[in-house]
C-alpha cells in the first residue's frame, strides 16, 4: 500500500496531479496540500478558476499551480499582467457574475497594489448591494526565508481591520487544505495567507476526502498545557511548539492555541484556554503595534480579566521593515529562545 500511493492517487481522479507529489508515506507538504485544495475544487466546480502572475505556463513562483494549465487550460488558469489592481478587479467582476475566482498574488506584500479593490470594493460589496462576492485571494506571506522587506511581510492585520473580508493564516498542511477549500466554497471574499516559511518545511498526512474541509473561524488547541496559554498562528505556531518542548523540560506546561482563522476569530477557544491557565502570551509575526495579537490581548483583558493571574504579554517583531541581513532578520523575528524567555518571565510574574 505504502509503495504505490502515487498511482492510487492519480487513479482516484481528485487532486491527482498534486497528490502525485506526496511522499511515499502519503504526507503532503503545506504547499502540496494547498495545490490539492485548488485542484479538487476546480474539479468539483466548473465556476472555480485561477488567475495571477506566472501561475499558468510557469506554474507559479512557488510552483503551487504546476501542471494546472495542462489539466484545466488557460481559460481557468489565467496568466495576468503584472498588475495586482487588475487581478483584484477581474476577480471582483467575475465573482459578481457568479464565478468563483481564486486570485494569487505572487508575494503577499504585493497585495498592497490591489488594496482599493479589496478593501473598498470586495469587502463592502455585499453590504452595499446585497450581491455575494465569492472570491479568494491567496498570497505567500511571512518572513524567515531571507527575502527582505518586500517579500517577507505579514499583511493580515491590514485586512483583519477592514470589515467584510475573511482572513485565514493556517499553520499545518491539513488546515491549509481544509481552510482553502472552505474559503473557495464560501460566498464571501476571503484573503488566504500561506506562510512561505512553512511551504516545504512542514508535512503531514492530509485527508484525501473530496469534501474534507476545516470550518472557517475555528481555532485549534495544538498542544494541551496547564501553566499558560500561547495564543498564536502561522509560522509562530511551529516556533511555539518547539519552545514548548524546551519548556516542558524545564517544568513549564504551555498550551498552544492556533487561531488558524484571523477573521472571524474564534475567541471562545482562546478564552477557554486562558480560563484554564490564567496566563497568556500572545505570539504573532505581524508588527507588534496594532498587530493581530494586540486584538487577542485586548479580548483576553476584557473578557477573561477574572481569570488572569498575570498581565497578558505580547511577543512580536518590532515596527520596522523586515531586515534582509540574516542576523538582523533572526533578531527581528521571535525565536524559540525568545519565546522560552517570555514564557519564563510570564510564569514568574
Amino acid at each position: 500500500m505504502a509503495t504505490t500511493p502515487t498511482v492510487e492517487a492519480a487513479a482516484a481522479g481528485h487532486g491527482a496531479e498534486p497528490r502525485g507529489k506526496r511522499t511515499d508515506a502519503g504526507e503532503a507538504t503545506y504547499l502540496i496540500a494547498i495545490a490539492e485544495a485548488l485542484w479538487e475544487e476546480m474539479e468539483r466546480d466548473g465556476n472555480v478558476f485561477l488567475l495571477g502572475e506566472d501561475i499558468g505556463i510557469y506554474g507559479g513562483a512557488f510552483k503551487v499551480t504546476e501542471g494546472f494549465i495542462e489539466r484545466f487550460g488557460p481559460e481557468r488558469v489565467m496568466d495576468t499582467p503584472i498588475c495586482e489592481e487588475t487581478i483584484m478587479g477581474m476577480a471582483v467582476g467575475a465573482a459578481m457574475e457568479g464565478m468563483r475566482p481564486v486570485a494569487e498574488v505572487q508575494y503577499a506584500d504585493f497585495i498592497a497594489n490591489g488594496f482599493d479593490e479589496l478593501i473598498n470594493v470586495a469587502g463592502k460589496y455585499h453590504y452595499r448591494s446585497g450581491v455575494p462576492l465569492p472570491m479568494v485571494v491567496r498570497g505567500p506571506s511571512g518572513g524567515g526565508v531571507r527575502a527582505s522587506a518586500f517579500h517577507s511581510q505579514n499583511p493580515e492585520p491590514w485586512f483583519a481591520h477592514s470589515p467584510g473580508l475573511k482572513v485565514m493564516c493556517p499553520a499545518f498542511p491539513s488546515d491549509a487544505k481544509g481552510l482553502l477549500k472552505s474559503a473557495i466554497r464560501d460566498d464571501n471574499p476571503c484573503v488566504f495567507f500561506e506562510h512561505k516559511w512553512i511551504y516545504r518545511r512542514i508535512k503531514e498526512v492530509v485527508s484525501e476526502e473530496p469534501d474534507f474541509t476545516v470550518p472557517i473561524g475555528t481555532a485549534k488547541v495544538q498542544r494541551e498545557g496547564s501553566d499558560l496559554s500561547i495564543v498564536t498562528y502561522g509560522a509562530m505556531v511551529h516556533k511555539a511548539i518547539e519552545a514548548s518542548e524546551e519548556l516542558e523540560r524545564q517544568g513549564v506546561s504551555a498550551e498552544i492555541v492556533d487561531l488558524r482563522t484571523i477573521v472571524p476569530m474564534d475567541t471562545e477557544t482562546v478564552l477557554e484556554s486562558v480560563a484554564k491557565t490564567s496566563r497568556a502570551l500572545v505570539l504573532y509575526e505581524s508588527h507588534r503595534t496594532l498587530g493581530v495579537g494586540s486584538e487577542v490581548a485586548a479580548v483576553i483583558a476584557e473578557e477573561a480579566f477574572d481569570s488572569l493571574d498575570a498581565p497578558v504579554m505580547r511577543l512580536a517583531p518590532p515596527n520596522t521593515p523586515v531586515p534582509f541581513s540574516p542576523s538582523l532578520e533572526d533578531a527581528y523575528l521571535p525565536q524559540v529562545e525568545d519565546i522560552v524567555e517570555s514564557v519564563k518571565r510570564l510564569s514568574s510574574w
Binding site: S278, F305, D306, S307, L308, D309, S348, W349
Partner: protein, 465 residues
C-alpha cells in the same frame, strides 16, 4: 551611644505605618537626615530621614510589617561607624560580618510612650464580646472580616493580588493571610490558592489550620464577618483601598464629632477675572504653571482668618485653641482619593507666593511625594470642586479644624447692578462650620470679609502689573 528610631506619626489621625523598604542594611553607616526607610501610612507614602548619624546597628521591624506609631524600628549607633560596630559583633548566627548585633537599646533616649492618638475614632469600634473572643483566640490577628488581605510580611509583592486570586479567594472564602506566596517577591499566585484549597501547601506559620483544610476556611468565626457576597450579574466587588478606608473613617468621625452648620455668599469676581486674564500669559511664562483663582481666594481667606481668628480655631476638650497664624489645607484630588496638604504660614505669603505653594503641593500630592509633616497641622481648609463643574458644595469639616470653605465654579451670571442687568463673573463661596465653636453671625461676618476682600482688593501689584 545609640539613638532609637521610632515609627513617626504622619498626621493626627494616623495610628500606624507600614515599612515599605529599608534603605540601609544593618551595619551600614548613615548620616543624619539621610533617608533611612520608606513607609506607607493612611495619608502618605514617604521616605523618613535618619534622626542621627552613625551606624545602623539594628533593624527591629522587617519590610512589609505594619506597626503602631512610636514603635521602635531601628537603632543608630552614634559611635564611630565601623570600628565599634565590628567589635560589637556577637555570635549571631547568620549575621553578616558587618551586622552589628549591638547591645539592647540603651535607654539613653527615654522610651517614648506610645502616643495614643487622641480618640482616633477609626479604631474605636466597641469591643463586642465576639470581637474580644476573636482577638484572644487568634492572637494578633489583623484579618477580622477581611479574607482578601494577605499577610503584610509576605514580601514586597505580597500585596499584589491578581484578578484570579481575588476571585478564587472570594469564591472559596480563603483568608489570604494564611496562604504562602511563592510568586516573585512573595506574590500569591493562582496556584498558591489552589494548592491551599487542596490542602497541599502548608499554611503560613501563624495559627493552626482548622481540622479539615478542604472545608471553606472560617477565618472570621468570631467576628460576624460581613457576608462576602459573590458579585452578581453586572456587578463587581472592589475591596476598599487603604486611603479610601482612611477617608471614610475620617469623614464619618467628623460628622459624629462636630455640629456642622453651613452658609454661603455669592461673590463678584469680575475684577479678579479681568486681572487674571491680563496676568495669565506673562505669569505662565514666568512661573511655568497656570494662574488659577485659588491663590486669590486663599489670600482673601488668610486675611479674613486673622480678622476672625475664631474661625481658625480648634476645640480641644473644653478649651478653644485660637490661632494667629494660618496653616492652610488645600484639598487635592488624587488617583485613589483625596489628600489635604497643608501650606504652613500661608498668611505670610503674597499672591504669587500662595500660587507657587498651592501648585507645588498639588503637583507633589499627585506624584505622592508629600513629606509627612506636609499633611498635618492645618488650621483651616479650602476645597475647590469648581474645576469639575460644581457650583455649590456642602463640605465636611476636616477635623480637628472648625471650618472649611468650598470654592466652586466661577461662572458668568446676569446680575442687577444699579438697576441695570449686567453680566459678571460670579462664584458661590460656602462655609461648613462647627457650631460648637462658631455661630452664624461669625460665619457670616467671616464670609462677608472674604467677599469684600475679593471684590475690593487690587491684586495688580502682587502680580507685577
Amino acid at each position: 551611644m545609640s539613638t532609637s528610631v521610632k515609627m513617626p506619626q504622619l498626621g493626627e489621625t494616623v495610628i500606624e505605618g507600614t515599612i515599605l523598604k529599608w534603605l540601609k542594611k544593618e551595619g551600614e553607616s548613615i548620616d543624619v537626615d539621610e533617608p533611612l526607610f520608606e513607609i506607607s501610612t493612611d495619608k502618605v507614602d514617604t521616605e523618613v530621614p535618619s534622626p542621627a548619624g552613625g551606624t545602623v546597628s539594628k533593624i527591629l521591624v522587617p519590610e512589609g510589617e505594619t506597626v503602631s506609631v512610636g514603635t521602635e524600628l531601628a537603632q543608630i549607633d552614634e559611635g564611630s561607624a565601623n570600628g565599634e560596630a565590628r567589635s560589637a559583633v556577637e555570635g549571631v548566627a547568620g549575621a553578616s560580618p558587618d551586622a552589628a548585633a549591638a547591645a539592647p537599646p540603651a535607654p539613653a533616649s527615654e522610651p517614648t510612650p506610645e502616643p495614643q492618638p487622641a480618640a482616633a475614632p477609626s479604631v474605636a469600634s466597641p469591643p463586642t464580646p465576639s470581637n474580644v473572643a476573636a482577638a484572644s483566640a487568634t492572637g494578633a490577628s489583623s484579618s477580622v472580616g477581611a479574607p482578601s488581605r494577605p499577610a503584610p510580611s509576605g514580601g514586597p509583592r505580597s500585596q499584589i493580588l491578581s484578578p484570579v486570586v481575588r476571585k478564587l479567594a472570594e469564591e472559596n472564602r480563603v483568608d489570604l493571610s494564611q496562604v504562602q506566596g511563592t510568586g516573585a517577591g512573595g506574590r500569591i499566585t493562582r496556584n498558591d490558592v489552589l494548592n491551599y484549597l487542596d490542602g497541599g501547601a502548608a499554611p503560613a506559620p501563624a495559627p493552626a489550620p482548622s481540622v479539615t483544610p478542604l472545608a471553606p476556611q472560617a477565618p472570621t468565626q468570631a467576628a460576624p464577618a460581613p457576608q462576602i457576597a459573590a458579585a452578581g450579574e453586572r456587578e463587581e466587588i472592589v475591596p476598599m483601598s487603604h486611603i479610601r478606608k482612611a477617608i471614610a473613617t475620617h469623614m464619618v468621625a467628623s460628622l459624629q464629632t462636630s455640629a456642622r452648620a453651613w452658609n454661603m455668599v455669592e461673590v463678584d469676581l469680575e475684577h479678579v477675572a479681568k486681572l487674571r486674564e491680563r496676568a495669565k500669559e506673562p505669569f505662565k511664562q514666568r512661573e511655568g504653571f497656570n494662574l488659577t483663582y485659588m491663590p486669590f481666594v486663599s489670600r482673601a481667606v488668610c486675611e479674613a482668618l486673622l480678622t476672625y481668628p475664631m474661625v481658625n480655631a480648634e476645640l480641644r476638650g473644653e478649651e478653644i485653641v485660637v490661632r494667629r497664624y494660618v496653616n492652610l489645607g488645600i484639598a487635592v484630588s488624587i488617583d485613589d482619593g483625596l489628600i489635604v496638604p497643608v501650606i504652613k504660614d500661608a498668611d505670610s505669603m503674597n499672591l504669587v507666593g500662595l500660587a507657587r505653594a498651592i501648585n507645588d503641593v498639588a503637583v507633589r500630592a499627585r506624584a505622592k511625594q508629600l513629606k509627612p509633616d506636609e499633611v498635618h497641622g492645618g488650621t483651616f481648609s479650602i476645597t475647590n470642586p469648581g474645576p469639575f463643574g460644581s457650583i455649590l458644595s456642602v463640605p465636611i469639616i476636616n477635623q480637628p479644624q472648625s471650618a472649611i470653605l468650598a470654592f466652586d465654579a466661577v461662572e458668568k451670571r446676569p446680575v442687577v447692578i444699579d438697576d441695570a442687568i449686567a453680566i459678571r463673573h460670579r462664584v458661590y463661596l460656602s462655609l461648613s462650620w462647627d457650631h460648637r465653636v462658631i455661630d452664624g453671625a461669625l460665619a457670616s461676618q467671616f464670609l462677608g470679609r472674604v467677599k469684600q476682600n475679593l471684590e475690593t482688593w487690587d491684586f495688580a501689584e502682587d502680580l507685577g502689573l
